[in-house]
Symmetry: C2
Subunit: 334 residues, 2 copies
């Protein structure tokens, strides 16, 4: 039985959508037990009772717009997110899923789960679906804004293990996000990171990947610093949104175009379905000693269910043990 | 009469498309004289003779894939690009347009035109059209990969002058590309750049702009380092291309969708036309003492014509004098 801790109160639509996601997960997987942290009364309003679901009651939870999560952590250990994390730390559960505020998860990850020995930084690693539904791991997408080359190597090693265990890719290809495909491009730290990854035997490094190739490259893992990763991801989001809006405006302005759009509906639906982030689930906080899945803040039940599904798969694959072994191997001579 | 130096041999489709662009420019603007640098025999094959076009013959030119433009500069002063730049330096012409290799332009800009006194760095500044055809200046988009906060301030000042003189915007709004819209987000150098721009009286700084807002923000000038700017621009390019490809694949797979696409043809054409980079022209190399327009390497005649049109407008507006004055004002107490 896999036990997963759920932050029932984190997310824009918590607890309702979170609990509905829990109901879905319990229905679909009979090898999981879920422990929900949050307000028992509110949770019970939406929960389908099941012997595999337990509630740990707390009325405190992090606000989605929390400004100083470190202070929150220091002053209140009973926030639903922190209680859930502690259960992983203490071995009561095997993973945690939360749609709470990212910085809250990063802070809790640091102070409660703690970094894996040898990891100097953590990273947020989303699974980016392309227009064919294929997923690539991008990290760091925003946990840290400053970086050193050796952090990127650690990220590449950990993400390769996740790609292998979770995405079932035999020998995951790793690329360094860079402004040119040739070796020698980029900032001084990118050049150093290139060499570190190129020399490392634990990963299958194939070189630089340009931002415009993010959805086309045959890489499975894309590595960069958190500032660049965030710019990359949000640029794709913005471009696709702006393009979609431009199409919608054209549709509104012409009857003929509107007819065309109706005929193209299945095409637009297919595209939307393939890139559906809800289907993908959440991002993983890489580098902490425990499986910590960050579901999107605006998760609905289906998105949150998929984040639970991810946590289950990763727990079954025992990724943390594998990650610890690889990081220890990498830093044994430090 | 505005005199513009043309690198007739730079670009993937030089000299044919370059000369055809020259023909167009001469036809459309009777207040310009063009001096073409390149192989006279090849140029004359495509040139419509006109008293306002002169040729300075040279058989040497930079290869588009040039690997060491500094070495080229040191060993051969007769490359068409360098001769053209020298004519601006010596006051024989008012601006230069080239579709040659970017790094060749940056090197020539540094060594021949030289940086404006006070400018510590140069920047490549493209004019990015959104889906409504509105242009925003993004800089640096790739001249430098490392940066200091004060470089970004200089870029903001210069680009504001260009937005005012060339895009005719009364009081151009300046934004700092950042991973969050609130003050306090970003890398240490972004925080410092924020304060520098916020305090400066020559620009209208409105704060951070997230990457996803690039085509939506009411800013006219978007400032960041060359690594980030390049990632931003290329991510948008890649996202829109991947989205378009996904639509095309759907169209190929279904007759009904194909019919829909036919009805939507005008819409797709409108969108393409609004974002047509050929219509925009080229990017300006900001910070050098002379108007240097970098047309896209794959420019056709229409794109190159528009780069000439840009050079003409900027020369007429006497932007270099304005830029020098503003930069001098900014650095008078350095």
């Amino acid at each position: 039985m896999i036990k997963i801790a759920i932050d029932a109160m984190g997310g824009d639509f918590a607890p309702e959508q979170i609990i509905k996601g829990v109901n879905l997960a319990i229905e679909k997987h009979d090898d999981i037990e879920l422990v929900l942290y949050g307000d028992e009364k509110l949770i019970k309003k939406h929960l389908k009772e099941n012997s595999r679901v337990n509630i740990v009651h707390t009325t405190d939870f992090l606000d989605m717009g929390v400004e100083d999560p470190v202070k929150e952590f220091r002053t209140n250990p009973n926030h639903s997110l922190f209680l859930a994390m502690r259960s992983v730390k203490e071995g009561e559960t095997d993973a945690i899923v939360s749609a709470g505020p990212t910085q809250g998860l990063v802070v809790g990850g640091h102070f409660i789960l703690r970094r894996i020995r040898g990891m100097k930084r953590v990273a947020i690693a989303p699974f980016i679906p392309d227009f064919n539904g294929r997923q690539r791991i991008l990290l760091d997408s925003g946990a840290n804004v400053e970086f050193k080359p050796e952090h990127l190597l650690d990220f590449a090693i950990v993400a390769s293990i996740i790609a292998k265990s979770y995405l079932n890719i035999e020998e995951p290809k790793v690329g360094l996000i860079n402004i040119g495909s040739e070796k020698g491009k980029g900032r001084a730290d990118d050049l150093l990171a290139y060499d570190l990854m190129d020399e490392n035997k634990l990963i299958n490094f194939i070189g630089n990947v340009e931002p415009k190739e993010m959805l086309l490259t045959d890489c499975d893992v894309l590595v960069t610093d958190g500032f660049t990763g965030n710019v990359l991801m949000k640029s794709y989001e913005g471009a696709i949104k702006a393009f979609s809006t431009a199409i919608k405006t054209e549709v509104e302005n012409s009857f003929k175009v509107k007819m065309g759009a109706l005929l193209m509906k299945s095409a637009f639906n297919n595209i939307k379905e393939n890139t559906n982030a809800e289907k993908v689930g959440g991002a993983i906080l890489v580098g902490v000693d425990g499986i910590l899945i960050k579901a999107h803040g605006s998760s609905n039940d289906f998105a949150f269910y998929n984040a639970i599904r991810q946590a289950r798969s990763m727990a079954k694959a025992d990724i943390i043990t594998k990650i610890k072994k690889a990081i220890e191997e990498t830093h044994k001579n430090d």
